[in-house]
C-alpha cells in the first residue's frame, strides 16, 4: 500500500506530513513516560519482524498480492504509541533505503499505515475484547482488528489519491476495498499466529490479552 512519488499532489502531501508529524510527536511524548527497559528490545525485534514480513508478498488471486502491514501486531503487543513509532520506522527505512514508497508520499504512508492502521486496530481490538472477554474474544479480536486495520488504511490511501486527482474516487474505492478486504484476511491470519507466538515465548513487556494500551485511553 506504499504510495510512490508523483501520486499525491502538494496539498495532500503537505497535509498528511503535518498530520503524521503531529501524531508521531504525540506518540513520542506518550511513550516517554511508559516505555519500560524490557520493552525496548521487543520494540526493535517487532519492527525488524514487520520489515521482514512486509517483504514476503503472498498471492491473493487474480494476479494481485498482499503483504503484512503489522500495525495491529504492534498495537496489540506494545500499545498504540509504540506501534505508531514502529510502523513509521519501518516505512521510513523502506522509503530511504529501498525506494518503497515515495519520499513525498511518506507523510501519507505513515498516516495511512502507522496512524490509521494503529488506531483502527486498537479500537476494534478493545471493543471486541471488552464485549467478549476471555480466549474467544481474544482470537476474534486479534483477527478482526488486523483485518480492519488494513481495510481502513486502504480507505484513507484511496481518499488521498482521489483528492490528488490520481484515482477517480468511486472506481478506485471499489477496487481498493475488494483487494484489501482479501489482503486483510492474510493480515488477520499472520497477526494471529504472531501474537500467539510472542505471548507463548514470554516476551518482555508485551501487553497481555485484552490490554493493548488500555491504560492510556
Amino acid at each position: 500500500m506504499h504510495i510512490p512519488d508523483g501520486f499525491l499532489d502538494a496539498r495532500t502531501a503537505i497535509a498528511t506530513y503535518a498530520l503524521s508529524a503531529g501524531a508521531l510527536g504525540y506518540s513520542i511524548k506518550k511513550t516517554k513516560g511508559e516505555l519500560s527497559d524490557r520493552q525496548i528490545p521487543t520494540m526493535g525485534v517487532l519492527a525488524a519482524f514487520i520489515f521482514a514480513a512486509q517483504m514476503v508478498n503472498f498471492p491473493i488471486f487474480g494476479g494481485t498480492s498482499g503483504h503484512l502491514l503489522g500495525a495491529a501486531l504492534a498495537t496489540i503487543l506494545l500499545g498504540p504509541w509504540c506501534s505508531a513509532l514502529i510502523i513509521s520506522t519501518v516505512l521510513i527505512i523502506q522509503c530511504l533505503f529501498f525506494q518503497d514508497g515515495g519520499l513525498t508520499a511518506l507523510g501519507g504512508n505513515i498516516f495511512n499505515m502507522a496512524i490509521v492502521g494503529t488506531l483502527v486496530a486498537l479500537g476494534i481490538y478493545q471493543l471486541i475484547t471488552r464485549l467478549a472477554p476471555g480466549g474467544k474474544g481474544e482470537v476474534i479480536g486479534v483477527f478482526t482488528a488486523a483485518w480492519a486495520s488494513v481495510v481502513a488504511s486502504a480507505f484513507f490511501a484511496t481518499m488521498e489519491l482521489a483528492l490528488s486527482g490520481t484515482f477517480p474516487f468511486k472506481i478506485a474505492l471499489g477496487a481498493m476495498l475488494v483487494w484489501h478486504v482479501l489482503i486483510g484476511i492474510g493480515e488477520g491470519l499472520i497477526t494471529s499466529v504472531a501474537v500467539s507466538f510472542v505471548r507463548k515465548m514470554g516476551f518482555g513487556g508485551v501487553h497481555q490479552q485484552g490490554k493493548a494500551g488500555s491504560e492510556v485511553l
Binding site: 500500500m1 512519488d5 520494540m43 526493535g44 521482514a52 527505512i93 530511504l96 525506494q99 490520481t166 483487494w179
Partner: protein
C-alpha cells in the same frame, strides 16, 4: 538481550533471507489498482531520491534471489537497530527532572 527476543530476531532474519526471494512478484493492491486505472505513468520517473537498494535488490549481484535476500537481511538489521535506538532515546527522556 533475552532469549525470546533473540529467537524472534532470528525468525525475522530467516524470513528476510529465505522467504523474501520467494515472495509473490504480483503487484500489491495499490499497484494493481494503479495499473488497472492507467495511473501508473503518474509516478514514472518521479522518484524524489535515489535509494541505495531500490526495489529490495542489492545492486551488482546477478542472482535476483541473492540480491533480494541480502536486501532483506540488511533492512531487517537496520530496522532492528533504528527501532531499538528509538526506544532507548524515548525511554531516556523520562528521566528529566520534573
Amino acid at each position: 538481550m533475552k532469549k525470546p527476543v533473540l529467537i524472534f530476531l532470528l525468525v525475522a532474519l530467516v524470513v528476510a533471507a529465505f522467504l523474501s526471494p520467494f515472495a509473490s512478484p504480483d503487484p500489491d493492491g495499490l499497484d494493481r489498482v494503479a495499473r488497472d486505472l492507467g495511473a501508473e505513468e503518474k509516478s514514472e520517473g518521479k522518484e524524489a531520491i535515489q535509494s541505495p537498494v531500490p526495489d529490495y535488490k542489492f545492486p551488482g549481484i546477478e542472482s535476483e534471489a541473492v540480491a533480494t535476500s541480502l536486501a532483506g537481511v540488511l533492512g531487517t538489521v537496520i530496522t532492528f537497530g533504528v527501532a531499538y535506538g528509538l526506544g532507548k532515546f524515548v525511554s531516556s527522556r523520562k528521566k528529566t527532572a520534573v
